[in-house]
């Protein structure tokens, strides 16, 4: 009944996209943390969580996302969100998740913003 989450990483120039496919619930924790740490260990410093392939997120899943965002922030990693439906954008705002991460409508918008930041002079 539950759709197991699969996370696939792909690189677009200096940005790593983590494409989520399936349900974001308590069962997603191991796969999400595995994919995040694999990307960071491979040198990623700007990541996008792409929710375009998921249509079911619950509070346990949101708690996992908040935990990842907190970890990223503490490590100086930029982690942003894209591909959420308007319903889940509303839910993420409702629970304050947008205080932890920027939310972009599309993958292109998220990648464009992160690329422009990486090209800014320090």
């Amino acid at each position: 009944m539950a759709q197991e989450l699969k996370v696939t990483a792909r690189r677009v120039v200096s940005v790593t996209l983590l494409d989520l496919q399936g349900d974001v619930t308590m069962f997603a924790e191991a796969e999400l943390t595995r994919a995040y740490h694999a990307a960071v260990d491979a040198g990623a410093r700007a990541l996008v969580l792409n929710f375009a392939g998921t249509d079911y997120i619950n509070s346990a899943g949101i708690a996992i996302i908040i935990s990842l965002l907190t970890e990223a922030r503490a490590s100086g990693i930029t982690l942003v969100i894209c591909g959420l439906s308007s319903h889940y954008q509303k839910i993420f705002r409702m629970v304050g998740l947008t205080q932890y991460a920027e939310v972009f409508e599309t993958e292109e918008a998220a990648v464009g913003e992160l690329k422009s930041r990486s090209s800014e002079p320090a």
Binding site: A2, D23, T25, M26, S59, I62, A63, H87, M94
Partner: protein
């Protein structure tokens, strides 16, 4: 769908994932009643949170114990009761349940998404009653 009250009973196993059965049933009923897609999505999310709470905290994920979901179609509203078999009084207002973060968040989400919600502990188990109205009720004094 006529204005006569209709009641639909579902009994789902206390196994995470089966809340989708209740979500699907609620969508079918709410669509037939004329609710907008946004309201249906709100209700489905609220039902998902109530069912997973009932499975995890009421029935302790014992798949043999069922979560009962009752959809009651009223003239201008859809009421959804989610009942578990938890023996301990476990449902209070969300703000007094902050020791369990994601559960507290789930209860907060429910409160935000439906027009009325009530948690109660009964001798036979816990219950959440949620109601959405076809036309949102006016705020008192508004």
């Amino acid at each position: 769908m006529s204005s006569e009250k209709r009641i639909i009973h579902l009994h789902i196993p206390s196994e995470l994932g089966y809340e989708k059965v209740a979500m699907g049933a609620a969508r079918s009923v709410a669509q037939a009643m004329g609710f907008s897609n946004d309201r249906i999505l709100d209700l489905q999310t609220a039902i998902a949170e109530a069912c997973t709470n009932a499975m995890e905290h009421g029935n302790r994920l014992n798949a043999a114990q069922r979560v009962e979901v009752v959809l009651t179609v009223e003239e201008n509203a859809l009421a959804v009761d989610v009942n578990d078999k938890g023996k301990n009084p476990q449902f209070g207002e969300p703000e007094i349940r902050e020791h369990d973060k994601h559960r507290g968040m789930g209860m907060y989400i429910i409160k935000q998404l439906v027009d009325e919600v009530q948690w109660s502990a009964k001798p036979q188990g816990g219950q959440v009653r949620m109601v959405i109205y076809l036309e949102p009720k006016e705020e008192a004094g508004a």
